[in-house]
């Protein structure tokens, strides 16, 4: 027998008995008309509806004692009518949490407003608990005195399952978001560590000089290819370099690392700028074949203190790099031009031109990568350019290496998103007076500050 058939037969029996009950009341034994049978099929009786409704019905006295309860609810509770009516309070049917909630929230609200709607609670069952949605109204007598409370309970298992599913989904999404965020943070800190490995953690103290550097990382997710360094080559001389590897990302960073250590090693054998760049050129050209060519531009310089004058002789060579600028004490700005210096790594043998100058007290030599001059500025996104950089440097006079780097750091910050590429600046200057050296921050503290500034940017 199909379920539908069984239901219909049950309904038929019920309607027959209902008709008989009604027939008893109406005093007629006439056969049910077609209309009456139809009506009977639609709804048997108010009593039957109350008993077998698809929700639980319950009436209590004002103190909560159960006065009446329907069959559906008794089935849910797994109890008989005799066990409940007059013996139990509504709150006895609830879980501990539900009972507390009813007494502290629902009951006061009922007394105040006369009704509550859709409160989520749980019924105790012999083998568990049943989530229900509870609505209640207070029935009042003719004199307005509250007589009893009528309560309807809906089975909320499906709804609870749906809500739990939503919560689980939300939790999973949140966990995925947190994991992605953690992965990104881990990647960024790994990149930051790698990036720092490409730069000196601090610049050494060069007696008689002030030095400062700044590195601006354009992206937290992309390694840049700019580099610089400063180191002693013997008892009296110091070598420095600054450059830019073509491209970005891990491949460029690998080349940057190779370049940095090649130049340092080359300087141990022969610290003259042309020799160091020639060694680098050979290494880059041999290491990176035409299938994956890698080039860099670089300035390599050598500092030699001039005895007795407080000045330094600077000798530098450039491989395809923008000229170093010299900011003189009096405000003049000169470019240390090295014509013909070719991008490093392109040709098996390349010649590099050398330039020389002397830094006197108050003079500063400035090296930069082209991220600075290629920055887009203003409404028309025009290139900042070499002329603007020279003019800016001129305006800083009289200046020092730390002051010039500070000014350039502010300038770079001012470019905002117009600064699309990584940028490195390195300044080496002879203090104007001995007194300045005493009051100026030490070179080592300078570089730490600049690196912190870079890290600060990264965290924004």
């Amino acid at each position: 027998m199909s379920r539908t058939e069984r239901d219909r037969r049950t309904a038929d029996r019920t309607s027959a008995s209902a008709t008989q009950e009604r027939g008893d009341g109406a005093g007629g034994a006439t056969p049910p008309s077609a209309d009456a049978a139809f009506t009977a099929l639609l709804e048997d009786s108010a009593e039957e509806l109350y008993e077998r409704a698809p929700c639980g019905y319950l009436s209590t006295l004002m103190d909560g004692t159960v006065a009446r309860i329907n069959g559906t609810l008794l089935d849910w509770l797994g109890m008989t009518r005799e066990e409940v009516v007059s013996r139990k309070s509504f709150t006895d049917l609830l879980t501990v949490g539900g009972r507390l909630y009813y007494e502290t929230h629902v009951s006061p609200l009922l007394r105040l407003r006369g009704e509550v709607n859709g409160v989520a609670m749980e019924l105790r069952q012999p083998d568990g608990r049943l989530p229900v949605l509870v609505s209640a109204t207070v029935k009042k007598g003719g004199d307005g005195q509250p007589l009893l409370i009528r309560i309807t309970l809906f089975d909320a298992r499906d709804r609870r399952a749906y809500e739990a599913e939503l919560l689980r989904g939300k939790l999973a999404a949140e966990q995925a978001r947190v994991r992605a965020e953690e992965d990104r943070t881990r990647l960024q800190s790994a990149l930051a560590v790698l990036q720092r490995s490409l730069l000196p953690t601090e610049l050494p103290r060069v007696p008689g000089m002030e030095v400062a550097a700044h590195y601006h990382a354009a992206s937290r997710d992309q390694l840049g290819g700019d580099f610089y360094d400063l180191f002693p080559v013997d008892g009296s001389r110091w070598a420095f370099f600054l450059g830019d590897v073509c491209g970005k990302g891990p491949e460029a960073a690998a080349v940057t690392s190779l370049v940095r250590y090649t130049l340092r090693a080359a300087a141990l054998h022969d610290p003259t700028p042309e020799a160091a760049l020639t060694t680098l050129n050979t290494v880059l050209h041999e290491r990176y074949t035409s299938s994956d060519p890698r080039y860099c531009t670089a300035v390599f310089g050598l500092l030699r203190p001039l005895p007795g004058e407080g000045g330094f002789e600077v000798e530098l060579a450039s491989g395809g790099h923008p000229p170093a600028l010299v900011a003189r004490r009096g405000g003049e700005v000169e470019a240390l031009s090295t014509p013909g210096g070719l991008l490093v790594g392109v040709l098996p043998t390349a010649g590099f031109a050398t330039a020389r100058t002397v830094l006197y007290p108050g003079d500063t030599v400035l090296l930069h990568t082209d991220g600075l001059t290629e920055a887009r500025t203003g409404a028309d996104r025009a290139l900042y350019g070499d002329a603007a950089l020279r003019s800016f440097t001129r305006d800083q006079a009289p200046t020092s290496a730390p002051a010039l780097v500070d000014a350039l750091t502010d300038l770079l910050h001012g470019f905002g998103d117009g600064l699309g590429d990584d940028t490195a600046v390195l300044a080496l200057g002879v203090p104007a007076h001995e007194a300045d050296t005493a009051t100026a921050p030490s070179p080592s503290s300078r570089i730490r500050r600049d690196l912190r500034a870079t890290t600060g940017e990264n965290n924004q």
Binding site: G247, P293, Y295, T297, G320, H321, G340, L342, L383, D421
Partner: protein, 117 residues
């Protein structure tokens, strides 16, 4: 975002690649691939027409050198034509004008090559 647009045509003197748009880290691979796809004969010249180039960074410059290697490998030459002022200045700074011949336009690049040949 301004994309890179490359069209290649074969001429009597060799392939001419017309390059328009922005040549940077993200788009340099396209030019590298387009250059690799050309098959210049020995004695021909590969011309990169940069008249429509609006931006070129170091990755872009690197592709010019890759193009040079590609051409030299088969005994062909390489020439840049209609180089925008900014890129010309960069090529000058990095010394590449020593190894890449620059012409005012495609016509003069191919004519010069015919005279050379």
């Amino acid at each position: 975002m301004n994309q890179l647009d490359i069209s290649t045509r074969d001429t009597a003197t060799g392939p001419v690649l017309e390059i328009r748009g922005e040549l940077d880290y993200d788009s340099a691979g396209e030019l590298r691939a387009a250059v690799s796809a050309t098959e210049p004969a020995a004695g021909q010249v590969v011309v990169l027409d940069l008249g429509g180039l609006t931006f070129c960074d170091s990755s872009g410059i690197a592709t010019f050198i890759a193009a040079r290697s590609h051409a030299l490998a088969v005994g062909a030459g390489i020439a840049l034509a209609s180089v925008p002022a900014h890129t010309a200045r960069v090529l000058d700074v990095i010394g590449l004008t020593q190894v890449l011949t620059v012409y005012p336009d495609v016509e003069s690049a191919t004519v010069a090559h015919r005279h050379d040949a």
